[in-house]
């Protein structure tokens, strides 16, 4: 089962932490995390011990977060992690060992451990180290490293958000604002000559508000996060974010119970990309397809969605939350069209699954950290524009639910059944958006929902940053879509 949820500073906080007051300019250096001669020696150990193919993945991660709660700085955290994972394959068997001991001796130990399980059936491999000296390095994508900004400026933004939320409405009784930054440097080298590095910086700001009314407590939340540095705040004002979060909580105080049963659902631009992440994204991951655990297995070339629906996964889409220069196997990310005008064109691939199918990887091999094996993951997944004015979609809906904002979701890839939470939604009556609705989950079946999209707007937008969980690993992802309507989705409300 896979799920995606809104990110929070715990995710960032678990990476690392460090704040300093040094220079403002981004310093992205090409200095390898592990010396080339040590990489070479380590991979040779792996093959000498029996592997047919070996890979070294090095990671250095720093993170920092500040939590502002009850009107004051409650937590200021920082963290640091460095480590290496060695992967060795022989036939269908993969051995993996991770260590935080980056000495030549420590890495050789890890290589032997990783290779041990592979020795049972190995034919032995060859080491192609010719490209080790020419490391492929991503262009810097960050203007200002967040770690170069003084903590007092981060606190000032949080305080501004807190003030703004509290002054929005007297019903706001509690505000939590979070700031998070992470910098993740990786290096990947393997015995087929891949040698690449990347420097991934992400910055995030979120505000959660509680409003108190006669009917109890309601919550509103807004999050902004991009694969950028401190320049995030050139384009995003924390106070405006806070006002939106506060307004969402206050609006929901007057909300009525959501309907129960099958209802036409209009999803606002950027508010529902998670629908596609769950409805079909996971089902198009080649590892799940290969094991028969996807309803989309064997469907390439078939009509799987309504005419006009084009689904793309694009890791190059900077500065979105799921953007990467290379994946965690050293392959450049790319734009992959998965569904073209309703027809399934391809799955997403990592190295292992593409090797078995005799094709090139699609840049979707990702892992949470150096302690994890990579697998097929999404990056930024979105549906492209249709040609209908979004206002016409609403006006053309006699009765239904308008979802302004979705929370997380979860999918059973074998059946395609998926749920996702409505964190802000309204009733549509006679073509007009009317009363706010209380929170609820929507449930649908992916293959059916894709065919049931009967209106696609021309107002594409990406949505909030997400953390996608699969087999216990979380990675940052983005999603987006234009305003669209699904003929019928089951709304899990409590109203008759």
């Amino acid at each position: 089962m896979q799920n995606v949820s809104a990110p929070n500073s715990e995710i960032l906080g678990s990476f690392m932490t460090r704040t300093s007051d040094t220079t403002a300019a981004a310093e992205i250096t090409a200095e390898p995390l592990v010396d080339f001669d040590v990489v070479d020696a380590t991979l040779r150990v792996a093959l000498d011990t029996g592997g047919e193919w070996a890979e070294l993945f090095a990671e250095d991660r720093e993170s920092a977060s500040v939590v502002f709660d009850e009107g004051r700085v409650e937590e200021m955290n920082s963290g640091r992690d460095r480590g290496v994972g060695i992967r060795v394959t022989a036939g269908e068997v993969t051995g993996y060992a991770h260590t935080s001991d980056l000495s030549a001796h420590g890495l050789a130990d890890a290589a032997r451990t990783a290779a041990a399980v592979a020795t049972r059936q190995s034919q032995g491999g060859t080491v192609d180290m010719t490209s080790l000296g020419a490391i492929a390095l991503a262009e810097p994508r960050v203007a200002v490293l967040p770690a170069s900004i003084g903590a007092e400026r981060k606190v000032a933004l949080l305080r501004a958000a807190d003030d703004a939320a509290r002054s929005t409405h007297k019903a706001i009784t509690q505000v939590t604002a979070r700031y998070g930054e992470s910098r993740r440097r990786i290096m990947v080298a393997n015995t087929h000559g891949v040698c690449a590095a990347d420097d991934q910086v992400r910055t995030l700001f979120s505000v959660g508000c509680v409003a108190s009314g006669d009917g109890g407590l309601q919550t509103g939340r807004e999050t902004v996060g991009y694969t950028v540095g401190w320049e995030l705040f050139d384009d995003h004002d924390p106070a405006e974010l806070a006002e939106r979060a506060a307004q969402r909580a206050v609006t929901k105080l007057a909300a009525r119970p959501a309907p129960s049963g099958e209802v036409p659902v209009v999803i606002a631009r950027g508010g529902g990309g998670v629908l596609f992440h769950e409805a079909c994204g996971h089902g198009l991951e080649a590892d799940l397809v290969r094991k028969g655990a996807s309803v989309f297995a064997g469907r390439v070339g078939s009509q799987v969605a309504a005419n006009g629906v084009t689904l793309v996964d694009d890791g190059t889409m900077g500065p979105e939350w799921g953007a990467l220069a290379i994946d965690d196997e050293g392959h450049p990310t790319q734009r992959n069209e998965l569904i073209s005008d309703g027809v399934l064109t391809d799955y997403m691939w990592d190295w292992l699954r593409s090797r078995d199918d005799g094709r090139v990887p699609s840049g979707n091999g990702r892992r949470q950290s150096y302690t994890h094996l990579p697998m097929v993951r999404m990056t930024n997944t979105f549906v492209t524009n249709g040609d209908i004015d979004p206002a016409d979609i609403i006006a053309d809906t006699p009765w239904g639910v308008y979802v302004a904002h979705l929370g997380g979701g979860q999918v059973n890839t074998a059946t395609g059944d998926f749920v996702f939470g409505m964190t802000e939604s309204y009733l549509i009556e006679d073509g007009v958006i009317t009363e706010p609705l209380r929170e609820g989950n929507l449930i649908g079946n992916g293959p059916q929902v894709l065919l049931d999209i009967d209106a696609l707007g021309n107002d594409f937008a990406m949505g909030s940053p997400g953390t996608c969980g699969k087999d216990g690993q979380g990675v940052p992802v983005g999603d987006g879509q234009p305003t669209l309507r699904v003929r019928a989705l089951t709304v899990g409300g409590t109203a008759a």
């Binding site: 932490t17 068997v93 993996y96 959501a258 609820g440 089951t490």
Partner: protein, 454 residues
């Protein structure tokens, strides 16, 4: 020193104390250090698919000064990293803001339960044996039913960890333990339809793993869902199967943590002493039972772990506290600080337990004319709002008609509020069924839940 240096728990405690000894006159320092190793084996098509193993080390340093708190952590115990982490925590303190209740736990007079949890059995399992368990688990799932067409995941995992926590307030505790687990995700196929099941178990010792239950539960989930259809939308009586009941009780227990109460984020604030659930519900948090993986001698701040009643005969007994929330509430910590090495201690449960009721297993559905047995839920993380109490989650299982289990259903949701659900409990099973990790839970019967389908 390097990342692979082996420490025993005494050495870890010594390291933690050495850092604490650097506390300046106005400073409090708390240090948590840990080392661990783990292995995960996955089997596929009768062979090992992957074997992953590794060593880890971690340090978390919390500094409190003048009511301000800073925290820093790192994934290494190298001397320079330890020094950097202390420096970072001190730097972070500068930007914290004073809270008179902020501070580390002070030793209290509660004795820890004295559990011996460091059973070395898991250390004696060879890689070959781990592989054999995973391969056998896959084989047994495939053999359980002709409709089982594959097993997406058949896995063995184990881990061994050592940790120590010391503070400048005089706390110094250590622990060492291992555990192991298995999990399976079999696929059942009938024609064009495929369903997936999941079950797992976890235990202190390999011989305590109930692999029979994992095979039976995971494969029956998958085969039981074949032919499932979408149910009509109506208000029904719901039987929550033990794993689902445990998931909901976990959410209820989380909103009884004092931090959410103090911050006005719990629907149960100011309700102590009141009836918040049907009188059939008794809920305690009991980390003193050594048979569960929730067992512990100490909480996340080094205080004795203890048994805490949360709901007694439906009446809210009290909230769970760590040192901070207790100080702020003018009460004592309940030993309910929960943390990882690399996070600030929060408040939560160790091992929530629901007392069994009086409905024998065979009579569970007898009085239900129209209802559903919910065997699984999805979207708990997005579908439960712990502040408002509203919940709406995906559900699958079987219909109940005329007192009998009937056809399977899927693609539906169940919705209510936590407050109404607790008061709507109208039956508790007499038998607690085993769950992963030595936990057990009786099924719960809840009236008047909105089922949404067609």
């Amino acid at each position: 020193m390097n990342g692979r240096r082996q420490y025993d728990t005494d050495e870890l405690a010594q390291l933690a104390q050495q850092v604490c000894e650097q506390a300046q006159r106005t400073e409090q320092i708390e240090v948590c250090v840990s080392t661990g190793r783990s292995t995960t084996v996955r089997a596929y098509n009768g062979d090992v698919e992957s074997l992953r193993s590794g060593h880890s080390a971690a340090i978390g340093v919390r500094v409190v000064e003048d009511g301000r708190q800073g925290f820093a952590s790192a994934g290494s115990l190298d001397a320079d990293v330890v020094a950097d982490t202390l420096a970072a925590a001190r730097s972070n303190v500068r930007f914290g803001e004073p809270d008179p209740h902020q501070g580390l736990a002070e030793p209290d007079d509660v004795a820890p339960p004295g559990l011996d949890l460091s059973d070395p059995a898991v250390l004696g399992v060879s890689d070959a044996d781990k592989i054999a368990v995973a391969i056998d688990l896959e084989r047994r799932c495939l053999a359980a039913d002709p409709r089982i067409s594959g097993v997406r995941v058949a896995a063995w995992s184990d881990g061994w960890s050592q940790s120590a926590l010391a503070s400048s307030t005089g706390i110094c505790v250590q622990s060492e333990h291992g555990s192991c687990s298995v999990g399976a995700q079999p696929l059942a196929t009938d024609g064009d339809e495929t369903q997936i099941g999941y079950a797992g178990d976890a235990a202190w010792r390999p011989d305590e793993l109930d692999i029979d239950r994992v095979v039976t539960e995971s494969t029956s989930q998958a085969t039981g869902q074949l032919g499932a259809t979408k149910p009509p939308s109506e208000r029904v009586t719901v039987v929550l199967a033990p794993p689902v009941a445990a998931a909901f009780i976990g959410v209820v227990a989380s909103v009884l943590a004092a931090d959410s109460v103090l911050k006005g984020r719990s629907p149960f604030a100011d309700r102590v002493g009141e009836q918040i659930a049907d009188e059939r519900l008794h809920l305690v948090d009991d980390p003193t039972d050594p048979t569960t993986l929730g067992a512990a001698n100490f909480d996340g701040e080094g205080l004795a772990a203890r048994r805490n009643a949360l709901i007694s005969a439906g009446v809210l007994s009290g909230f769970l506290h760590n040192a901070y929330t207790a100080r702020r509430s003018d009460t004592a910590s309940t030993g309910s600080a929960v943390r990882g090495t690399r996070s600030i201690p929060g408040v939560g449960t160790h091992a929530p337990v629901v007392a069994t009721g009086d409905i024998p297993a065979g009579m569970l559905y007898e009085s239900i004319e129209n209802g559903v047995l919910v065997r699984g839920v999805s979207g708990l993380h997005s579908g439960v709002n712990p502040t408002s109490g509203d919940f709406s989650v995906g559900a699958w299982g079987h219909r109940i008609a005329g007192g009998q289990l009937a056809e399977p259903f899927r693609e539906a949701t169940i919705a209510s509020t936590l407050q109404r659900m607790l008061l709507g409990i109208c039956g508790v099973g007499a038998t607690a069924e085993p769950l992963a990790g030595g936990m057990s839970m009786p099924p719960l019967v809840v009236a008047d839940i909105a089922l949404s389908g067609v």
